[in-house]
């Protein structure tokens, strides 16, 4: 039993990295634009398909392919923000943005069905099925790489937000859009670029999702979105580090409960979510008071 517990913890932590990569873009976009991008699930799948195309048709390694898919997804993100989110104005902006994001999701899903059909595909590479033997456990290489990528992405986003001029603009916009405008920040530009960055990071999450799942098709995003939303709520809406912590917490809790009862594994996370929110409504790392100023 002790061995199973250690293995479940290792599985959970590594799997958390994959979910963090899928969720950080969602929380970043919420932090700046105050919208819940419910197209995040299909954007993850889109990222996976872009990696699939590069891998299968151009024989480009999955990680090298990120050099192409990340910029491509950035452009897609900026385009989505420009075309669907930016035109929304007025007091119904928040609710309309949900519908706009859902429309985006349906459009992308439809296009993916048209191009790739309903059959499941997977991302393959030698490191997808290989593992390293450490402390008596086989730790899958792809999950180790994924976790390292998640930490690197979170660190890079922190550096971007806290060590650059653009980051200061983003944080100012997060705190008060009106005040940011008054001090000369081009809020529209910040919003578009931030949306682009959020979607660009999702390209990494998409590649990891495609490489670690048993297969994906254009419909696969629906199973993801509720979990990603739960992660960013638990981590604190807008908190990038919180997304990583919450993702690790979720997957570790599930893996541990799996030992005794797989049926309850998913439920446990949501119970924990409710409990945490009851005690700390802004989530583990949320900054509601600052944002409410």
């Amino acid at each position: 039993m002790g061995r199973q517990i250690y293995e479940a913890i290792a599985d959970g932590i590594l799997d958390g990295g994959v979910y963090a990569l899928m969720a950080v873009g969602l929380t970043l976009i919420f932090g700046v634009l105050d919208i819940i991008n419910i197209a995040q699930g299909i954007l993850v799948v889109l990222g996976a398909y872009l990696s699939y195309v590069l891998s299968v048709h151009l024989h480009i390694d999955l990680f090298v392919g990120l050099l192409i898919t990340v910029p491509a997804m950035f452009v897609i993100g900026v385009a989505i923000q420009w075309l669907f989110i930016r035109p929304l104005r007025g007091r119904d902006r928040a609710s309309m943005s949900l519908l706009a994001a859902y429309a985006v999701a349906l459009i992308i899903e439809g296009l993916l069905y048209r191009v790739f059909g309903p059959n499941y595909v997977v991302l393959t590479a030698s490191y997808v099925t290989s593992s390293v033997h450490l402390f008596g456990f086989y730790l899958p290489d792809i999950y180790l790489y994924g976790f390292a990528l998640a930490v690197a992405c979170v660190a890079a986003l922190y550096l971007l937000l806290y060590r650059t001029r653009f980051g200061r603009s983003v944080r100012a916009t997060m705190q008060d859009q009106m005040a940011a405008r008054l001090i000369g920040i081009n809020v529209n530009r910040v919003a578009a670029v931030t949306f682009g960055i959020g979607v660009a990071v999702t390209a990494v999450g998409g590649m990891m999702f495609g490489a670690t799942s048993g297969g994906f098709n254009p419909n696969s995003g629906y199973d993801l979105i509720s979990r990603l939303l739960a992660i960013i709520i638990l981590g604190g809406l807008g908190s990038i580090g919180g997304a990583l912590a919450a993702a690790v917490f979720m997957t570790t809790a599930e893996a541990l409960v799996d030992i005794w009862s797989p049926d309850w594994a998913v439920v446990v996370f949501y119970v924990a979510l409710v409990l945490v929110l009851a005690i700390r409504p802004s989530g583990l790392f949320g900054r509601a008071p600052a944002r409410a100023q």
Binding site: E7, A94, V122, T129, V266, A292
Partner: protein, 414 residues
């Protein structure tokens, strides 16, 4: 700001719900050209999107192929057939709405079944309410027959018995050659769970020790933790209660990562999905994987072979790529057509009486004869195995068409 957030969250839930309904209402239809007599309208709800979309779209192809063939040979009772297919988004709630719409709005003459037992059960009740015969090919679980509806007719193999050939094969082995241990991970699904539990109850008395037997939710995005737990048991045989390709592929991937290769690995569903399976797991890793079913593309039946040939000509690929769902759907059409011809019309009560009469009908899956519950008592359970890129029948070993089984399963090889 806080109230805005709360509003956002509640709106997101509402938007998801509303959009799901909207997606479920989307429909597609296919039909034939204009004809002097009005066409016979046949309604079906299929999972063209959602969790069962691979199967649902394969079913659509099966129905389309059958309709095309029937119309090419003059139609039914001198009338062309026209399919009206609505998308249920793999939702048991939407399937209920769709069949109600098909009957009350589209006024279809006949209904064909949806994909999966989960959706067939509610759909059959709607058809029963309006007096329609409900011929289907993917509702073989006990859940479907438990209501004892007189209008349900499943042309395929009853699900609970699907793994019997595997049990019989192991029973036939000398005790020293039988697997000593087994693991039974199962998705919480009316198709997957009963057959695996039945196999477990039959294998345990043979001295095969159960090392793992747990039911996991079907909607789990990541099966790796479950698969790792199975791998840790080191069981010599794995009987996986899966419902689709990703579930099997996830377990296979995790097993390979854990350097665990069971001697026998059979999955309730997934390996039967032709190219959809091999493209997900790789031809090398598919080698030795087994699945129970009643049909395979090499099935020695003239109409089956003609259908496979037609399918490949229309959709491309090879015979091994043809999903068993296609044959199930095609069989639904064949059985219904025989009933319509025999009764001289599309009246539900007459078709129901005819199909309950004990008549033996022909289909691409073999003979069909219904018992009082609507189960096909003529369906024979087989076990199929991937062998060097080919999907072949291996059990029962003495059955016509069976080839030697690969045992133990070869090592993972990508």
């Amino acid at each position: 700001m806080r109230s805005n957030r709360a509003r956002l969250l509640s709106l997101s839930a509402a938007a998801i719900l509303a959009a799901s309904v909207a997606a479920g209402c989307s429909s597609s239809s296919s039909g034939t050209g204009p004809n002097a007599k009005p066409p016979i309208l046949i309604g079906a709800s299929l999972s063209l999107t959602g969790d069962f979309s691979t199967d649902g779209q394969a079913y659509e192809r099966g129905y389309d192929l059958w309709a095309h063939d029937v119309n090419a040979s003059g139609g039914l009772l001198g009338r062309k057939v026209k399919l009206v297919i609505l998308n249920d988004n793999s939702s048991p709630t939407q399937v209920d709405t769709n069949y109600t719409d098909l009957i009350t709005v589209h006024h279809v003459d006949l209904t064909f079944g949806p994909f999966s037992s989960l959706l067939t059960a509610p759909a059959a009740e709607v058809a029963h309410r309006y007096g329609y015969a409900f011929v289907e090919g993917a509702g073989g679980a006990a859940l479907v027959f438990s209501e004892k509806l007189p209008n349900v007719f499943d042309v395929s193999l009853p699900v609970a018995n699907e793994l019997d050939p595997l049990v019989d094969w192991i029973k036939s082995m000398p005790a020293s050659q039988r697997p000593a241990t087994a693991a039974y991970p199962m998705a919480d699904d009316p198709f997957a769970t009963p057959q695996v539990q039945r196999a477990q109850s039959q294998l345990e008395p043979l001295g095969i020790k159960t090392k793992y037997s747990k039911v996991f939710p079907e909607e789990v995005p990541d099966y790796a933790p479950n698969a790792d737990l199975v791998a840790a048991t080191g069981a010599q045989m794995v009987v996986l209660g899966s419902t689709d390709v990703p579930t099997v592929a996830s377990f296979m991937k995790a097993f390979e990562q854990q350097h665990y290769n069971p001697k026998i690995f059979i999955a309730a569903a997934g390996p039967d999905q032709g190219g959809a399976f091999t493209s997900a797991v790789g031809t090398g890793n598919a080698n030795g994987m087994m699945v129970p079913d009643a049909w395979y593309p090499g099935y020695p039946n003239a109409s089956s072979q003609a259908m496979v040939k037609e399918y490949v000509a229309k959709y491309g690929g090879t015979a091994s790529d043809v999903n068993a769902d296609v044959a199930e759907a095609y069989s639904v059409g064949q059985v219904t057509a025989e009933a319509v011809k025999a009764t001289g019309g599309t009246t539900g009560s007459k078709i129901i009486s005819y199909l309950h009469s004990g008549v033996i009908l022909a289909s691409v899956q073999g003979p069909v004869k219904f018992n009082s519950l609507g189960e096909n008592v003529k369906a024979i359970a087989f076990v199929f195995q991937w062998q060097d890129g080919k999907f072949v029948q291996v059990l029962p070993a003495a059955a016509t068409g069976s080839v030697a089984i690969i045992n133990p399963k070869p090592a993972w090889s990508g």
